[in-house]
Symmetry: C2
Subunit: 152 residues, 2 copies
């Protein structure tokens, strides 16, 4: 149940991923990617911005938003669907889903049985699905064990 460690991209690999989309490897983009990877888990743009500021890296808020969108297009960052509200990002490229715990409010990664998109098919009558993100809502393992312990 440990969070999968996001792979550590070399600068060259990051530059490659960006350039495939006609994007440059800039200092802010490198910093945003590293911050997201080092923070781990599911983070909002402003969390990344705050982490960079705390580390003494001055980057404008707009740039963080832009960089995350660019890294997303480049495929080295993913958006974690977790319902409405602010957008959450995470480093890494492995396709997976999420469990939202209604007890602790946490988000757990759930590996995708297929591991690549789209993992579920859509009846052709509706159109073409390029990806299928599943949001499980319920109670995470940790909280479930907490409940059980209390009940005794």
């Amino acid at each position: 149940m440990d969070a999968p460690r996001p792979e550590r991209l070399t600068d060259a690999a990051l530059a490659d991923a960006l350039r495939r989309g006609g994007l440059r490897l800039t200092r802010p983009r490198r910093a945003v990617h590293a911050a997201l990877r080092d923070l781990g888990g599911h983070r909002s743009a402003d969390e990344v911005h705050a982490a960079l500021a705390a580390a003494g890296t001055r980057v404008s808020r707009m740039t963080v938003y832009n960089a995350l969108a660019d890294l997303l297009r480049a495929g080295v960052v993913q958006r974690a669907d977790a319902g409405p509200g602010r957008a959450l990002f995470e480093a890494g490229a492995a396709w997976h889903h999420h469990l939202l715990c209604r007890t602790c409010g946490g988000i757990e990664d759930v590996p995708c049985v297929r591991g690549r998109r789209p993992c579920l098919s859509l009846p052709a009558a509706f159109g073409r699905a390029e990806e299928a993100q599943v949001i499980f809502r319920g109670v995470c393992r940790r909280c479930l064990e907490g409940e059980r312990r209390k009940r005794r």
Copy 2:
């Protein structure tokens, strides 16, 4: 592919659903439910608020937010997961999923093969899933046909 028409709840049925959760049937709650049902599709709280205002029904914005949350708990309204941003609601209780079209930006309902929650199971090692919402991203039928027509 027509949108399923949301069932028309009688006041008694609506009151029943609310009271099961210790909630009262109030004029604003009735108005919000009717507005959402009559608008059809996937609507934000402020869209419902605007529709009510346009129809001459004065209800405070806060009340619309509260009413939608209450109707959601009562099970007569659902939240349509459509990624980050504002929350979208729709009338009705039948469990289903959504296809987000990246061409036109629209949201299509996709019936759930099981029709009730949870339609997908979660490996027990992760916890208990009470519901599983699938977000398909791709191209809707209408846009797919548009593409095909242009290519000729």
